[in-house]
Symmetry: C2
Subunit: 440 residues, 2 copies
């Protein structure tokens, strides 16, 4: 059987990894797939660089539409990134009857509904294992491996840049700005790190996983997104003393009969959990299913060849299924298109979680009583209290840090309580509030 | 579309879990699969118990052959276990044109080649996600998710009983016999625990993963198998002091141009590795691929519903592919049947690994020199030495434990060196040798 012909749109880091791995392991991949998979055409604005990567046997063009127009090409791999031209090209590829493999989480998290509908109508596949957690086959696990389960929640460390920064902050006691510079110097953070450090990249990925896990449309615009730029080294240390690590967690949770929580924010998690020990740029996703219990999926979440591993897994899947009846394929979002439920993403005020609070207060009798009273009035119960002086004792002899861990509470109630607490004369600085998840 | 009809052979722990989860999540599973999946007939010798589990709407029979003979049943789920009657029934089901889903690692590790060939000839599928690591979708990850990779090695904690015992030994300083009794009391070990504690169960699973990872036939009879019954609490403590944990690891490694290592034995692994922190009855498999690097897959390795999760994932896969062209399905061992390579499993003497040695020696000058000379003569280089007196100092004032960590060496060379070391007059007891893997 002739090799299936593939066209590549964009040959940067992931594209060159895909080309190289596919060539290096072509024999092994063919032994698995039963059919060769060949990249025959590459579109990239930098044709000279593209030519250097692919050598003389592959056609290189500057215009992506030449790839889409090529009738021999059955699968188009989109590795351009972003929402703009990538969206247009993916829709054009679908319209031309091509299957699409993409690593573009931003595109699918924002325009997924439109793209999946177009693909469904045309009877082609859109595969996106590489869009979440690099080489970890987490999309396949959610779509197929755990398909028996009613997924209850999932929580992931799905952004390597922020996890690297948080690891550095904890290990070396660094402040955020210093750790960010270190990450940039080592290539773990981009010159403009906004998407990573503000949690947007993690939210794109959490949005996709949430849709697959719960059978709902992608709803990135409803996600609550909070990055790590406001995290202080002091809170990481206090968390440590209380037996917790702070991670940027992407979470989605089913709330029976109410909706779905979808949120990205710094989160205290118990240090003894395996996922709390995922360090540096590594990724991990924890999935809680009603039958299987908890499973953890760990590996490199980015990089040329780890991401290529996921792109090629999709190419093999699509190759196997290309000749099959569309109704027997695994649907894009794991649920049959007609079976997606329009469950709402709950606003952050309706989220239920537990909290870490740090209050800089006057060190005088009665303050703790005032604070706990306000929390009790709001129906928030306290799990643990830690009182510590920080910094130079001489300088701040009359100030202290009051750390409070709460039990589960409604975010709206917490907001109201925080507004009241902030008004107390004994509270000397803006209150720090970090969400906490026990993950069990 | 009418629900696909399934027959169950054996309704014990996993069978009842499968029945219950399938019924409980039937709507969600149908939304995913696009077609209902229905258990319509159950064969079990204890028909009364079976009837209690499945209720009045499912046909219950004592004779498994009635299930196989039922023309409406497209998938037979074999949950009887063992090599005997299960083998006959699986082969008969295949001959009758039924797809087979099984959790029977023993059967496939020993008779897999015969069974997969029969299925191939008949054009039916044999799916066995539940045979390895319970609910963790590791078979799917190896067959599909990591398909781009040349797998270099895999290492798994794939027997919950022994991992529970080892966790207890380490946590509480218990001896093996005491920890085993505790495990039996809590239901983590069977009355006859031989298959688990002697490493046979882990070897069945390692054999299956090895075949899928490397595209070789199942070769259980060539696996090296060593259990945990000889492990002393002292070695677990010494390992801890050196920064290692002892786990029963199932390993398989590609040795380019030479063959494949396939072995199960107690293994020192660095405590800082995530997999070293897999405690209690949990399972985890670490896979090293050339493109993706290391991925870890963690979860419950046994139990009614976790295993049912895997059985049902297979049912959904088979349901989706039942109408497809056999040549486009993922083959049983992930590689196309004609593309399996007859690579040999290397005998244990040709395995390359590093070692932990404990020698009970006379506490006198010159002993360390004698020991290191013999190791050097065998070409074995030393990584670390630890010398500790144990027990009551008064009683054993003239004895000491000499702990040696070596670099990588050929097992055959180590055997020869150990034979010489054992002859030294200064060596007072049988030498303890435990293999060590850095897993990086």
């Amino acid at each position: 059987m002739q090799a299936i012909q593939v066209g590549l749109l964009g040959i940067g880091t992931v594209g060159s990894g895909t080309f190289n791995v596919l060539r290096r392991n072509q024999e092994e991949i063919k032994r698995r797939a039963g059919r060769g998979i060949e990249i025959v055409m590459v579109a990239d604005l930098d044709t000279q660089r593209a030519r250097q990567i692919v050598g003389p046997d592959v056609q290189v063009v500057a215009d992506a539409r030449e790839v889409i127009a090529n009738p021999d090409i059955e699968i188009v791999v989109e590795l351009i990134g972003g929402y703009g031209v990538a969206r247009t090209l993916v829709l054009e590829a679908i319209a031309a009857g091509k299957h699409v493999v993409t690593a573009n989480k931003a595109l699918l998290a924002v325009h997924g509904t439109e793209i999946f509908e177009a693909a469904q109508k045309k009877g082609v596949m859109v595969a996106f294992e590489a869009a979440v957690a690099g080489g970890i086959p987490i999309i396949k696990a959610l779509r197929e491996g755990l398909t028996a389960n009613r997924i209850q929640w999932l929580a992931g460390i799905i952004n390597g840049t922020t996890n690297f920064i948080l690891s550095e902050m904890r290990d070396k006691g660094l402040d955020f700005d210093v750790a960010l510079k270190e990450a940039q110097r080592l290539g773990y953070a981009e010159a403009d790190p906004t998407f990573d450090i503000e949690g947007i990249d993690a939210a794109h990925k959490a949005t996709l996983m949430s849709a697959i896990a719960f059978g709902i449309p992608v709803q990135f615009d409803r996600a609550y997104v909070e990055g790590i730029t406001q995290l202080a080294a002091a809170d990481i240390q206090y968390a440590e003393q209380l037996g917790y690590r702070i991670k940027l967690l992407g979470m989605s949770k089913r709330r029976e009969g109410e909706g779905v929580e979808l949120r990205v924010h710094p989160t205290l998690i118990p240090a003894r959990r395996l996922i709390a020990n995922v360090e540096g740029a590594m990724n991990a996703v924890l999935v809680q299913g009603d039958a299987v219990g908890a499973t953890l999926h760990y590996g490199k979440g980015a990089g040329s060849e780890p991401t290529a591993s996921a792109v090629i897994a999709d190419l093999v899947d699509v190759t196997r299924l290309a000749t099959s009846d569309p109704q027997h394929r695994v649907p894009h979002l794991a649920f049959q298109p007609g079976a997606l439920r329009h469950v709402q993403v709950l606003p952050i005020e309706q989220v239920i979680t537990s909290y870490y609070l740090r209050l800089r207060v006057k060190d005088e009798t009665g303050v703790l009583a005032q604070v706990t009273r306000i929390l009790a009035d709001a129906g928030i119960s306290i799990n643990a209290v830690l009182q510590r002086g920080t910094g130079s004792a001489a300088q701040n002899a009359h100030e202290t840090d009051l750390i409070i861990l709460t039990h589960n509470a409604l975010e709206g109630s917490m907001n109201a309580a925080l507004a009241r607490l902030q008004q107390l004369p004994a509270v000397l600085a803006p209150i720090v509030r970090i969400r906490k998840e026990e993950l069990a």
